[in-house]
Symmetry: C2
């Protein structure tokens, strides 16, 4: 049976109704599964309430020490534990963790010649052994996008990247399906037309679409990462609306990326 690794986007988390309906479908997925969540605007709201000014450097948000504290509280505390409690209520035995727990994801502080990103981590290593133990015990792992540097420093890390790294790290142990679920219906052929979802994209078709500049700018890094994951042994990547999670997995909604 396939191991499903599912990332949910921040906008789903911000919407109580959408989140609950997503978790309902998530809990019903048969077999082993891992959920990776972002934090969305809850962290930004908390920063505003605490009057912690968000700094930007060449268009990128900087995770300074105070912002790191907020994302650690909001992602690894509030959001993570609420998702776990709700899954428990649906008889889905979940455990909420971040990359520091069990030394699951070791990362290093991003270094860049001109931009100071602050406490942002780039992943070095996924500790597969402990993840395998948790999955063996039929635990559903709920992952907050915080990692550590093994020297005592927590680091804010992109949730899409974490999903991809975990998927690749587990690809030699399971048939892995990686799912990016958010508020859009999938990869659109025509950005103006929400019904123009492309059901399947192969690497060849993807390079055609890129040449024709048919892929929305914001979608390109996601798709590049998705194809990199496929090249590293992940079986399928599915992209689509969190509200359609069951149909995404069945392949009857959203966009499925495949090897051929």
């Amino acid at each position: 049976m396939m191991l499903h690794i599912i990332k949910i986007g921040g906008n789903i988390i911000n919407d109580e109704g959408k989140l609950l309906s997503f978790l309902e479908k998530f809990a019903a997925i048969e077999g082993k599964k891992i959920l990776i969540h972002g934090g969305g605007k809850l962290a930004t709201e908390m920063a505003e309430q605490l009057k912690i000014r968000q700094h930007w450097n060449e268009g990128r948000r900087v995770t300074d020490a105070k912002t790191l504290k907020i994302v650690t509280m909001v992602y690894a505390g509030y959001i993570n534990k609420n998702i776990v409690a709700r899954l428990q209520a649906k008889y889905c035995n979940a455990i909420g963790i971040c990359g520091a727990d069990g030394n699951l994801i070791q990362a290093h502080k991003r270094e860049h010649a001109t931009i100071d990103y602050g406490y942002v981590g780039d992943v070095d290593h996924v500790n597969v052994e402990f993840l395998l133990k948790l999955l063996e015990q039929d635990m559903t792992v709920v992952f907050a996008p915080i990692t550590h540097d093994k020297a005592g420093q927590l680091l804010n890390t992109n949730a899409d990247t974490i999903a991809q790294e975990i998927a690749v790290a587990l690809a030699s142990h399971f048939e892995v399906g990686l799912i990016y679920s958010f508020e859009k219906s999938g990869v659109l052929l025509d950005l103006e037309n929400p019904d123009s979802v492309i059901p399947r994209i192969s690497p060849v078709y993807y390079s055609e679409l890129r040449k024709q500049e048919k892929i929305a700018h914001g979608m390109i890094p996601k798709l590049d990462n998705a194809f990199a994951a496929l090249n590293s042994g992940v079986k399928k990547v599915m992209i689509g609306n969190a509200a359609d999670l069951d149909r995404l997995i069945a392949g009857t909604a959203g966009t499925t990326l495949t090897h051929e």
Copy 2:
């Protein structure tokens, strides 16, 4: 070898230097160990910064929905993950969790005829099996004092109680030493004299001390709970200064409660 279950008090957590020196000693303890932390005044400070007024009912703090959000963020997020990251740096493979994770501690919302405590949980059940699995894998468990009701609701739960419940639940599997570490040196014979620590207290001696009203009022519930834990199979209970953790465990500092 003894399983050590160690509760650290909030005042240690508030003091960066004391916390780091405690964690150094904690990481050096040989054998299996579990750390339970409170949150101290960090949660109160956060409530003040967010202008969330703390409500009191007949002298007791009420955990309303907003306060529950804060304690979940601060205890299960900020404090828990920072402790884990620091232990990882000391080659202590730790995992930070709360009672909702793995359904480890199921509780119910406290009901009281006259006082509304809000989202405060009283423990029903500790899921020993999953804890045993984590300990078997040589994971050091770091526990935030949040539980859940298995119906989706997180609950704020007393950290001393959690330590005691976990100790009792594991007493049939390990020789358990339960340690309450805080800023005081132990149980004092003379409250005015910090050097008057009582090294050992048996149940018989305890009832004598109670009769003579020698036990400080605030210490009585701690000691009552400690003796209850001993009666339920816990081997030793040690009470003393977090700065003396190694000596507490060796029995050369603090107060040790024993069966006889």
